[in-house]
C-alpha cells in the first residue's frame, strides 16, 4: 500500500506504475466478461486491444476459459453478497481459487491503488486513488496527479466508499407499476424501455422529461446528445439541490456566458469573503484550502501571510480562519459590498469599470444597515495596497446575483480576474465557461414541476437525483411527481424518489462504473470501476443509453468511444491507458492544438461592465430587506451529509459539525440574543444543557419544525439551517435523522436583491413550537467552548511573531538548574519545569548528552533497545495556522482504521470512537451574548508520549512503548480497566463499551418484534441488547473493512496508532528494496494524507532532513501540555493571525511588543522576573484564587496570554 500510495511523494516508481496500469486493463476484461461477454469479445475494438496488450495471452483470453482476476473476484464477491441475499443473484459463475492463473499484479495481502474520480454534491469533483485489497476497494484517497486534490481529499470523498457497501442499497431493478413491486432483471428493463420509448421516438420526445444531477462529464454530455438526437423535444433538467444560481446569473450578466469561478488563493494577499465559505462548503474547497494554506503557512518572520476578512452570517470555517470577522445578516451584506465598492472607487478613482462605478456612486447609503465604515475603509485600503492580481473579493451563495456581479466588478477593477484557458500570470480568480448542464438554473425544476402537475409529462426519468426529497417546497414536487404516469428513477441508494417511482433502477456506484469528470478548474479525469457492480447496477450513462435505445449500451465502450473521438484515433490506446493509470487526461490531449487554442482564446468572453451594471440597477431602486423584529433571514447551509445523498453514511452523520460539534442532527442556529428574545435559551443546568427547544420555522408558507440551538457569532434575527437531513427513505442509518430544510428553500426565481434562493430565504418567521413544545435531546461531542485560559491552542498575531519569532531559542535554566532552550511558542505557554534527566530514555529532541541508563539500553529479548537514539523515531507536527477544522482527517482515520459509529445516544453519553477529533475553542470574552473574537481548531489524536502516563498504569501491559517511540496498543492483551484513558491528559483513548465493531448499527436483534409491540423501537438504545442477540455486520459491510487493521472487540481500549500498519508496510518495502531507512514522505498517515491544507506532517524525527524534524524544531512548535513532561511525539505549531493594524485596539497592539507579557519569561519582554523557584512570571491575579471574574477567558493564571489572541485584555500588565 505504502508504495503505491506514495507515488506522489517518492519521485519515481518503476515497478508499481505499469502494474497498476495493467491491472486496470484486466479489470476491463473481467468486468466485460461478467456483463456481456459476447458483445464485447466480438467488437473489433476489443480484439484490437487484446492483441496489443497481451499478445501472448490473447488467444487464451479469447477461448472459453477467460480466467482473469477481476472475473473471479467479481464472481466471488457477488456470491459473497448472494450468500446473505438469497435470490438476488443466480449463482451462475464459478468461483475459482487463487491457485491458478493469478494475475501477476496480485500479491495477496498487498493493496493496489487505482485512479478514478468522484462527483460530489454541489458540483464538486475530486480525483481519487482507491486502495483495493484482492480486488475489493477499501479506502479512498486523493489522487496526487489530479489538480483539484493534489493527493488530498475531502471528508465526502473519504466517506463515499460507504455508499458502495451500503447494505440498504437498491439491489435489483424493481417494477412497481402493475401489481406488486417485483424485482426484475436488466433485460426486462431493456425490453420495457424499447417498447415504451418507441412512442417518444415517434413524437420527438413530447411528454418525456429528464431530471439529472448537475455534473461536468463529457460522456454524460455525449449521452445527453444521444437522448436529444432521438427525442429532440424532451425536457432535460440538470439540477443540484445546493447549487448557486446567483453566481451563474451574475456571470451571464458580466461576461455574457455562464462561467464558473476558479479561485487561485495561492496568489491572494488580501481576501474579503462576503458570506462565502470557500474553505468549508465550496465545491472546490480542497483546492481552495490548499491555495489558502499556501499563503498562510508562516515559516519565517519575513515572508508574511495573507489577510482574510469575512463578513458572514453563518459561522463558517472561512470565518473561523478570518483575521477579522463581522457577523452580519445575509440580507444586509449587500450594503457592505456596495460600501466597499464605493470606498474602492473613492480611494482609487477610476479603477472601477465606468458604468459600475457610476451606478455604485449613485447608490444612496442603504437604509437600516449599519456598515462598519472603518472596517470598509481598511478593507479597501488593504485590497488596493495588495496590488493587481493579489487580492480577492468573493460573494457567497446566500447573496443575490447583484452582489455577485458587484464582486466580479470589484475583482475586475482590482485586476484580479483572468479569463485565460490556462492558469498563468498574476490573478486570483479565473473564469471558465460552464457546460450546458452546469449552467442550468434551478428555475427549470419549478417549470418542469408545473408541467408535471398539468399532466404534460408522460414519462419522467430521474437519474442520480432525489427531487421528491430535496425539491423546493414551493414546487410541491411530490404531488407533481405522482401525476406522472411513468416514473423511472435510477439511484445508487434508496431514496424518497425511488420510493415513489414506478421503475426503481439500481444504479452502479461510481466505484463500479465507467465515466469521466471535469473538475472546476477544468481537469478532466476518468472514472473506472474498482469492482464489478455488487448488485449488477448500471451507471447513469448506461441508463441513458438504454433509454435512448442506443446501439451500444455498455458504459465502458461508450465512454471509450467518447474519448476516442475527443483524443483522436492516433495514440488513443496509449493516452487512454495513461489516463486510467494517472487518473487524469493529459492536458495536451484535450482539443487545444495551436489553432484550437487561439480560436478558443479568441472566443473567450469579455467582462461587460454595462451589462453587469444592469444587475445592480434594482439595488439602487430597492432597499435591501433587512430582518427586523418579526422577520428572520434564513440561511441554508450544507451539513456533513452533503445534500442528503450521504444520509446513510454513518461516518458523516457522526462527524461533528465543525462549529457546533453536533452530530446526527441539524438545528436552527440562532444568536444568543435571538434565543433570548424567543424564549429559546438553553438551560445552563447540566442535565438540560444538551437539550434544545423545538421551534417552527416558516418561510413563504412552508413550515418545518426543528430544534433551536444558540451559538455566539451568528447575527441576530438570522437562522442558519443545514440541509441534507430529514431523509425518510434511505436506509437504517439515515432514516429520520434530523429535519428536512429543503422544503423551505426557494426554487431560484430570480430576485436581484434578496428573496428566496436555494441557499437563502428572507422574511422567515420563528416561533416556539406549540406542538411538541419539549426539550429535544442534542448530541454534541464538545459542549465546552472556552479554553479556560489554558495554553492549549497558542496563537499570536503576525506582528508579534515577526518581531520575536526569528530570534534564536531563548536559553535559561529550569527549576532544577538544568539549562534549557525555549522556542517562541513554548514561551507562550506553561513551561516544562521537570528536571531534564529523569527519563529512562535519551530524548533526541533535547540534545541530552548524559550517558544512557545502562539498565535500559541493554537489549531486550527481542534484540531491541528501548533507547530512542536508534532506527526510525516517528513524530507528527500539526500546524494550527493552516488547519481549517474541516474534519477530513477524522473521516480518513475512521476509514483507515475500521472505526465503528456508535449512534446519537451513545455520542450523547460521550462514547464517540473517533481516534482523531478536532477540538474547537472560542476566544474572546465569554460573557453571554458577546460574539467570540475568534475560533481555533485543534486536531487531537494520541500524541505518543515518550513518558506516556497510560503505559505505567495498565496492569496487564496492554499499552506499551515501542522502540520507535510509538505507544502501542495490544488489543489482545487489553482487559479494559480504562485506567489508561483516565490517566491520559489528552483524553484520546477510546473504549469499546459495546460490541460495535462487528455488530450492525441499528440492525435487527432477537426480540425486536416483541419490543415493537410494546412500543419500544427507535428511541431505545439498541446497544443495550446483549451482543449475542444483535445482528452481525452484513457481509457487504464487512467488505469495506481494512484487512490491515484489527476490528476491535467490546471491552477493549483503542486509540491512534500513527497508522502502524502503514509504517510496517513501508518497512517491508524498505527492506525489499534494500534501503537503509524509510525515506521521508515514503508513506503518509491517513489523516496526513487527507488533510487538504497539509497541516499534518508525519515522519522520522531522527532524520534531521525530514519535514517533520524541521517543523518540530521550528520556533512555532510547542508540546501540548508539555509541562507534564509527557514528551509527546506530536507537536503543535502555534497559530498566527494577521489582523489589520488599523482595526485592532491599542491593547492588542501593545501585546505585539510584549507577547510574553503574562508569561513573563525572558529579557525581551521588558519585565524583570525572578527565574528562581516558582517565580515564572506569575501573572497578575484577580479575585478569588487568582481568577478574574470579568476576564474569564484571558487571565486565569497561565503564563501565556490569550489576550494575545483576543486582544481584549491589555490592561492587566
Amino acid at each position: 500500500m505504502s508504495m503505491d500510495q506514495c507515488h506522489s511523494t517518492v519521485g519515481e516508481l518503476p515497478v508499481v506504475r505499469p502494474r497498476a496500469a495493467k491491472h486496470a486493463q484486466v479489470g476491463v476484461t473481467g468486468k466485460a466478461y461478467w456483463r456481456s461477454v459476447e458483445d464485447l469479445a466480438d467488437t473489433p475494438d476489443f480484439r484490437d486491444w487484446l492483441e496489443r496488450e497481451f499478445p501472448g495471452g490473447a488467444s487464451r483470453l479469447l477461448d472459453s476459459s477467460r480466467r482473469t482476476f477481476m472475473k473471479l473476484m467479481g464472481a466471488s464477491l457477488a456470491l459473497a453478497g448472494a450468500a446473505t441475499l438469497p435470490g438476488c443473484r443466480r449463482p451462475d459463475h464459478k468461483i475459482m481459487s487463487y491457485s491458478r492463473d493469478v494475475p501477476e499484479e496480485i500479491i495477496p495481502g498487498k493493496s493496489l491503488f487505482f485512479a478514478t474520480s468522484l462527483h460530489l454534491p454541489g458540483g464538486s469533483v475530486e480525483g481519487v486513488l482507491v486502495e483495493t485489497h484482492e480486488g475489493r476497494p477499501v479506502k479512498i484517497e486523493g489522487n496526487p496527479l489530479h489538480a483539484t486534490n493534489n493527493g488530498k481529499s475531502s471528508h465526502w470523498a473519504q466517506a463515499s466508499i460507504l455508499g458502495l457497501y451500503d447494505p440498504d442499497r437498491l439491489k435489483d431493478p424493481i417494477f412497481a407499476s402493475e401489481g406488486p413491486a417485483t424485482p426484475r432483471s436488466w433485460d426486462d428493463v431493456k425490453a420495457w424501455s424499447k417498447r415504451h420509448f418507441a412512442k417518444f421516438a415517434a413524437n420527438q420526445g413530447e411528454g418525456l422529461a429528464f431530471i439529472v444531477d448537475k455534473k461536468r462529464s463529457p460522456s454524460r454530455d455525449a449521452a445527453r446528445g444521444m437522448i436529444f438526437g432521438r427525442y429532440p423535444n424532451a425536457s432535460w433538467v440538470a439540477y443540484d439541490p445546493i447549487q448557486n444560481d446567483a453566481a451563474i446569473e451574475a456571470t451571464i450578466a458580466s461576461f455574457g456566458k455562464a462561467m464558473r469561478e476558479v479561485l487561485h488563493l495561492e496568489n491572494a494577499d488580501v481576501i474579503v469573503a462576503f458570506d462565502r465559505d470557500f474553505i468549508g462548503d465550496d465545491p472546490d474547497r480542497v483546492r481552495n484550502q490548499r491555495g489558502f494554506a499556501a499563503k498562510r503557512r508562516v515559516l519565517d518572520t519575513t515572508s508574511g501571510m495573507s489577510r482574510l476578512y469575512a463578513v458572514e452570517s453563518n459561522y463558517s470555517l472561512t470565518g473561523c480562519k478570518a483575521d477579522h470577522r463581522w457577523a452580519v445578516a445575509p440580507s444586509a451584506i449587500g450594503a457592505w459590498v456596495v460600501a466597499l465598492a464605493q470606498e474602492i472607487g473613492k480611494q482609487k478613482a477610476g479603477s472601477m469599470p465606468k458604468p459600475v462605478a457610476d451606478l455604485v456612486d449613485a447608490m444612496p447609503a442603504i437604509r437600516g444597515v449599519a456598515v462598519d465604515s472603518a472596517a470598509v475603509r481598511a478593507m479597501a485600503a488593504d485590497l488596493l495596497g495588495a496590488g493587481p492580481g493579489k487580492s480577492l473579493v468573493l460573494a457567497g451563495p446566500t447573496q443575490p446575483a447583484a452582489v455577485h456581479a458587484l464582486c466580479i466588478a470589484i475583482n475586475q477593477a482590482l485586476g484580479n480576474v483572468s479569463l485565460a484557458l490556462r492558469a498563468s500570470g498574476a490573478f486570483t480568480v479565473r473564469y471558465r465557461e460552464m457546460g450546458g448542464d452546469e449552467a442550468a438554473s434551478s428555475v427549470q425544476l419549478g417549470k418542469l414541476a408545473a408541467n408535471m402537475k398539468a399532466g404534460k409529462v408522460d414519462t419522467l426519468v430521474c437519474i442520480g437525483v432525489n427531487p421528491v426529497y430535496d425539491a423546493p417546497g414551493s414546487t410541491d414536487f411530490a404531488a407533481a411527481f405522482a401525476k406522472v404516469p411513468h416514473r423511472l428513477t435510477a439511484s445508487v441508494e434508496n431514496s424518497e424518489t425511488i420510493d415513489a417511482s414506478t421503475w426503481k433502477l439500481s444504479m452502479a456506484h461510481t466505484l463500479e462504473s465507467w465515466g469521466d469528470s471535469e473538475a472546476i478548474d477544468g481537469t478532466l479525469a476518468p472514472i473506472q470501476p474498482m469492482i464489478a457492480p455488487l448488485f449488477g447496477g448500471k451507471s447513469d450513462v448506461e441508463v441513458l443509453l438504454i433509454v435512448a435505445d442506443a446501439p451500444v449500451t455498455d458504459g465502458y465502450e461508450f465512454v471509450r468511444g467518447v474519448w476516442r473521438k475527443r483524443l483522436g484515433e492516433t495514440g488513443f490506446e496509449k493516452a487512454w491507458r495513461r489516463a486510467l493509470h494517472n487518473g487524469v487526461f493529459d492536458e495536451a490531449a484535450a482539443p487545444t492544438d495551436a489553432t484550437g487554442a487561439a480560436a478558443a482564446a479568441a472566443a473567450l468572453p469579455k467582462f461587460d461592465a454595462a451589462k453587469s451594471a444592469t444587475l445592480l440597477a434594482p439595488m439602487k431602486d430597492r432597499v435591501p430587506y433587512t430582518p427586523d423584529g418579526g422577520k428572520m433571514d434564513v440561511v441554508f447551509a450544507v451539513g456533513m451529509p452533503g445534500d442528503g445523498r450521504f444520509a446513510n453514511h454513518g461516518w458523516l452523520q457522526e462527524l461533528p459539525d465543525p462549529l457546533t460539534k453536533i452530530v446526527w442532527d441539524n438545528v436552527a442556529l440562532i444568536s444568543p440574543a435571538t434565543a433570548e428574545k424567543y424564549g429559546l435559551k438553553r438551560e445552563a443546568a447540566t442535565a438540560k444543557k444538551r437539550k434544545a427547544r423545538m421551534v417552527t420555522l416558516s418561510v413563504a408558507g412552508q413550515k418545518m419544525t426543528l430544534p433551536a440551538w444558540e451559538m455566539a457569532g451568528i447575527p441576530d434575527n438570522t437562522v442558519i439551517v443545514q440541509v441534507g437531513y430529514g431523509r425518510t427513505v434511505c436506509g437504517l442509518v439515515g432514516n429520520g435523522v434530523g429535519f428536512n430544510a429543503f422544503g423551505l428553500s426557494g426554487n431560484g426565481e430570480p430576485d436581484t436583491v434578496g428573496g428566496i434562493n436555494r441557499r437563502f430565504a428572507a422574511g422567515g418567521t420563528l416561533e416556539r413550537a406549540t406542538e411538541g413544545d419539549r426539550w429535544y435531546p442534542i448530541s454534541s461531542t464538545q459542549m465546552h467552548g472556552s479554553m479556560e485560559g489554558r495554553a492549549i491552542v497558542r496563537e499570536v498575531d503576525l506582528a508579534a511573531w515577526n518581531k520575536f519569532g526569528g530570534k534564536p531559542s531563548y536559553k535559561d535554566t529550569d527549576h532544577y538548574g538544568q539549562p534549557r532552550e525555549l522556542k517562541f511558542a513554548e514561551r507562550l505557554g506553561e513551561l516544562v519545569d521537570s528536571p531534564a534527566m529523569v527519563s529512562a530514555y535519551v530524548n533526541p529532541q533535547r540534545n541530552e548528552k548524559a550517558p544512557h541508563n545502562p539498565a535500559v539500553s541493554e537489549m531486550n529479548e527481542l534484540g531491541e533497545t528501548p533507547d530512542f537514539a536508534f532506527g526510525h523515531q516517528w513524530g507528527m507536527s500539526i500546524d494550527l495556522t493552516t488547519c481549517t477544522g474541516c474534519s477530513a482527517c477524522t473521516i480518513a482515520c475512521q476509514a483507515e482504521n475500521n472505526i465503528p459509529i456508535v449512534g446519537k445516544i451513545e455520542v450523547n453519553k460521550g462514547r464517540e470512537m473517533s481516534w482523531i477529533r478536532v477540538d474547537r475553542y472560542f476566544s474572546g470574552p465569554n460573557s453571554g451574548g458577546v460574539d467570540p473574537e475568534g475560533v481555533m481548531f485543534q486536531p487531537v489524536a494520541c500524541v505518543h508520549c515518550e513518558n506516556a502516563p497510560c503505559e505505567v498504569v495498565c496492569p496487564v501491559n496492554a499499552t506499551v512503548h515501542g522502540p520507535e517511540g510509538i505507544n502501542y496498543m495490544a488489543y489482545n492483551r487489553c482487559i479494559g480497566t480504562r485506567y489508561c484513558a483516565n490517566n491520559c491528559p489528552y483524553k484520546v483513548r477510546r473504549f469499546n463499551f459495546f460490541q460495535w465493531g462487528t455488530k450492525r448499527y441499528q440492525g435487527e436483534y432477537v426480540g425486536r418484534e416483541s419490543l415493537k409491540e410494546i412500543g419500544i423501537d427507535g428511541p431505545a438504545n439498541h446497544n443495550l441488547i446483549p451482543a449475542r442477540l444483535r445482528e452481525e455486520l452484513n457481509e457487504i459491510q464487512k467488505l469495506q473493512q481494512n484487512p490491515d487493521v484489527t476490528v476491535r472487540a467490546r471491552g477493549v481500549m483503542e486509540k491512534c496508532s500513527y497508522c502502524i500498519q502503514r509504517i510496517n508496510e513501508s518497512r517491508i518495502e524498505m527492506k525489499l528494496r534494500n534501503m537503509k531507512s524509510i525515506p521521508d514522505g515514503f508513506f503518509q498517515t491517513a489523516c496526513q494524507q487527507a488533510c487538504p491544507s497539509d497541516a499534518i506532517v508525519f515522519g522520522n524525527i531522527r532524520d534531521a532532513g525530514s519535514r517533520v524534524s524541521k517543523l518540530r524544531d521550528h520556533q512555532r512548535s510547542y508540546l501540548l501540555l508539555g509541562f507534564l513532561n509527557t514528551r509527546p511525539r506530536t507537536t503543535y505549531m502555534a497559530a498566527i493571525r494577521n489582523p489589520n493594524p488599523s482595526l485592532v485596539d491599542s491593547a492588542r497592539k501593545n501585546l505585539w511588543d510584549h507577547p510574553f507579557e503574562h508569561g513573563g519569561h525572558g529579557p525581551d519582554d521588558g519585565h524583570d522576573h525572578d527565574h528562581g523557584g516558582g517565580g515564572h512570571g506569575e501573572p497578575q491575579k484577580h479575585g478569588l484564587l487568582g481568577y478574574d471574574p470579568s476576564k474569564s477567558f484571558d487571565d486565569r493564571g497561565y503564563r501565556m496570554s490569550l489576550a494575545v489572541l483576543s486582544g481584549s485584555a491589555g490592561g492587566h500588565a
Binding site: M783, E788, N957, C974, R978, F993, R1050
Partner: protein, 543 residues
C-alpha cells in the same frame, strides 16, 4: 452448689424473671452506668452483672434460639436486593460495560467509587481487631467479631467491582502473575496491580483472623449441641422430611469448624500467640490497603488525583467510614436483640463516636489541605479542578461573576456536610451517647464517604486538562441497582452471620468481666457448669 440448678437461674435471668443485680448504683447522668466522667473509675464493659455462663448463653443463644419474627422478612428483603447485583452483573457481562453510564471522559465512576467505598468500610474491622488489640483496648472485645465480619463482607462487596468493571472480565485473570508461553507478566508499575495484591492479602488475613478468633466459640457451640443431644435424645427432626436434628447439624458443622478445639491450656496458649501474631500482621495492612487504593489516584497525572496527601487521607477516611458502618450495624442489632445492650453498651458507642470525630476531623483537614495545596502549587489545572469541578455552586459563581460553576457541586457539598459538619455533633456528649443521634450521623457519614469517593473519581475526570473533551457522567439504572444490590449482599451476609456464627468473642468478653480480674472480690461467678470456658489462667484469679 446451691439447690437451684445454675441452668435454672440462667433460664430465669435470661427470661427476665430474675433481675440482674447491679454492682454499682446507676447514675442517671451516665446513661447506663458505663459512661462515667470520672477518669479514675473504670466502669463495667458488660452490663447486668453477667456471669461467664450468662455471657455464653447470650452469645450462643443468637445461633441456638429462633430469632425474632423480624428475621425472616428482613432476610428475604435483603437477599432479594442482593439478587439484584447478580442480575445486573449478568446483564453487564453479556452486554458490555456500556450498560453503565461511563464514557470516554469519565472512565471510572460508580464502579470504582463503590469499590473504594466498600474497601474503606472494611477498615474499621481490622483496626478494632488488630490495632486496638495491640493497644490493649478492652472495650474492643464486644464489637470486634462483628466488625471483623463486616470487614470480610465489605471486602467481598468491594472485590466484586474490580472484577466486573473491566471490559473483558473473562480475561481478568491476566492481572495475575501467571507465567505464560509469551512470557508476558503483569505490569508491576501499575497501582491497579498493587491493588490486586493489597486487597487479596487484606481479605485473606482478615478472613484468617476472623476465623481463628471464632474457633473456641465454635467449640463451645459444638459442645453445647452435643450436651443437649445427650440430655434430650428425642429432639424433633429439623424438618418433617429430614431426619437430621438441629443439634446434630450444629454438632457436625461447628465440630468441623472448631478444628478439634478442646479448650486445653496448650490450645489456649497457641491461640493467644497466633492471635497476637495475626494482629501484628494485620496492623500494617490497615494502613497499607487504603494507602495502596489511594495510589490508584495519587500516582496518576490527573489534577484532583495527583496528590501526596492521599494515602493518610484515605486511611483516615476509611477508618472514619468503617466505624460509621460498625455503628450503623450494631445500633439496630442492639435494638433487635435486647440483651445485646448488655454487651454493647453506650460506652462502646461513645468510644466509636469519638474515633469517628477524630478521623472525621482528619478528613476535614485533608479537604482543606487539598485546597491549600492546589493554590500553593500554582498550577491552574489543580485550582480549576478544586474550584470549578468541585466547590463552586451556581449561586456562588453568579455572585463572584464566574461564567461557569462546578457541575457536581452538590456532590462536593453533600460530602462536606456529611463528613465534616455532621460529626461535629459528637463534640456534645448528649449526641455521642444517644444511639439515635449516633445512628443518624453514621448514616450521614456513610453517605458522605460514598460521595467522597464519587467526588474524587468523577469530578477529577470529567473536566480534565483539555476543555475540548470535557463531559459529564450520569448513572444508569444498572449502575444504581448494582450498588444497591451490594448493600443487599452486605446486609444479607451480616444477617446470616448474626444468625449462625458466634457474633461475640465469648472468651474475650469473659476476660473483661469483673470476675475475670484477679483482684475481683465481688460476686462469685456462676455459670461454671453452664459451660463458661474462659481461659484457665483467668479462672484462677476468680476463685
Amino acid at each position: 452448689m446451691s439447690a437451684i440448678h445454675p441452668d435454672q437461674i440462667m433460664a430465669e435471668r435470661l427470661a427476665g424473671t430474675m433481675s440482674a443485680e447491679p454492682r454499682r448504683p446507676m447514675n442517671p447522668e451516665t446513661f447506663d452506668g458505663t459512661v462515667i466522667d470520672d477518669p479514675s473509675v473504670r466502669p463495667d464493659l458488660v452490663l447486668g452483672n453477667r456471669s461467664f455462663g450468662e455471657v455464653t448463653n447470650i452469645v450462643c443463644g443468637y445461633t441456638e434460639q429462633k430469632p425474632g419474627s423480624w428475621w425472616l422478612p428482613v432476610f428475604c428483603l435483603t437477599s432479594s436486593i442482593a439478587g439484584l447485583t447478580g442480575l445486573m452483573v449478568l446483564y453487564l457481562a453479556i452486554t458490555g460495560v456500556g450498560v453503565w453510564g461511563l464514557n470516554n471522559r469519565v472512565g471510572w465512576a460508580w464502579d470504582i467509587t463503590n469499590f473504594v467505598f466498600w474497601i474503606g468500610i472494611g477498615h474499621a474491622g481490622t483496626l478494632i481487631s488488630a490495632i486496638l488489640c495491640l493497644l490493649k483496648q478492652k472495650w474492643r472485645t464486644s464489637i470486634n467479631r462483628a466488625a471483623e465480619a463486616m470487614t470480610i463482607f465489605a471486602v467481598i462487596c468491594a472485590a466484586t467491582y474490580p472484577g466486573i468493571h473491566v471490559g473483558r472480565m473473562w480475561m481478568a485473570w491476566m492481572m495475575f502473575p501467571i507465567p505464560n508461553a509469551n512470557k508476558i507478566w503483569p505490569n508491576f508499575t501499575s497501582p491497579l496491580l498493587w491493588d490486586l495484591f493489597a486487597v487479596s492479602t487484606y481479605g485473606t488475613v482478615s478472613l484468617l483472623f476472623w476465623y481463628m478468633g471464632m474457633i473456641p466459640d465454635f467449640a463451645t457451640l459444638r459442645d453445647r449441641a452435643v450436651m443437649r443431644m445427650k440430655r434430650d435424645p428425642n429432639q424433633p427432626p429439623m424438618l418433617p422430611i429430614l431426619s437430621v436434628k438441629a443439634d446434630q447439624m450444629r454438632a457436625y458443622i461447628y465440630g468441623f469448624l472448631s478444628l478439634g478445639w478442646r479448650f486445653s491450656s496448650r490450645h489456649w496458649q497457641h491461640y493467644e500467640k497466633a492471635y497476637l501474631i495475626l494482629a501484628g500482621i494485620s496492623t500494617p495492612l490497615v494502613l497499607s490497603v487504603h494507602s495502596i487504593v489511594s495510589f490508584d489516584f495519587a500516582t496518576s497525572v490527573l489534577p484532583g488525583w495527583h496528590a501526596t496527601i492521599f494515602p493518610p487521607y484515605f486511611v483516615a477516611g476509611a477508618i472514619f467510614g468503617g466505624f460509621a458502618m460498625v455503628l450503623l450495624l450494631m445500633i439496630p442489632a442492639r435494638e433487635l436483640y435486647p440483651n445485646m445492650k448488655d454487651l454493647i453498651t453506650v460506652r462502646h458507642i461513645e468510644n466509636m463516636a469519638k474515633i469517628t470525630l477524630l478521623t472525621g476531623s482528619m478528613v476535614g483537614f485533608a479537604y482543606a489541605m487539598e485546597f491549600f495545596i492546589a493554590w500553593y502549587s500554582g498550577s491552574d489545572y489543580e485550582k480549576d479542578v478544586f474550584v470549578f469541578s468541585r466547590l463552586m455552586p451556581p449561586f456562588l459563581a453568579e455572585t463572584f461573576g464566574f461564567h461557569r460553576h462546578a457541575p457536581y457541586w452538590w456532590a462536593y457539598w453533600a460530602m462536606i456536610f456529611c463528613n465534616v459538619v455532621s460529626p461535629q455533633l459528637y463534640w456534645f456528649k448528649r449526641f455521642r451517647t444517644s444511639a439515635f443521634w449516633v445512628f443518624v450521623v453514621s448514616v450521614l457519614i456513610t453517605i458522605g464517604m460514598w460521595f467522597e469517593r464519587f467526588v474524587i473519581i468523577v469530578t477529577s475526570l470529567h473536566q480534565a486538562f483539555l476543555p475540548g473533551h470535557w463531559g459529564m457522567f450520569f448513572p444508569t439504572p444498572v449502575d444504581i441497582l448494582t450498588f444497591v444490590g451490594t448493600i443487599g449482599v452486605f446486609t444479607t451476609l451480616f444477617l446470616l452471620f448474626l444468625r449462625f456464627l458466634p457474633a461475640f468473642a465469648m472468651s474475650e468478653i469473659k476476660n473483661v468481666l469483673p470476675q475475670a480480674s484477679p483482684h475481683h472480690h465481688g460476686h462469685g461467678h456462676g455459670g461454671d457448669a453452664a459451660g463458661g470456658h474462659a481461659p484457665a489462667a483467668h479462672h484462677q484469679g476468680g476463685h
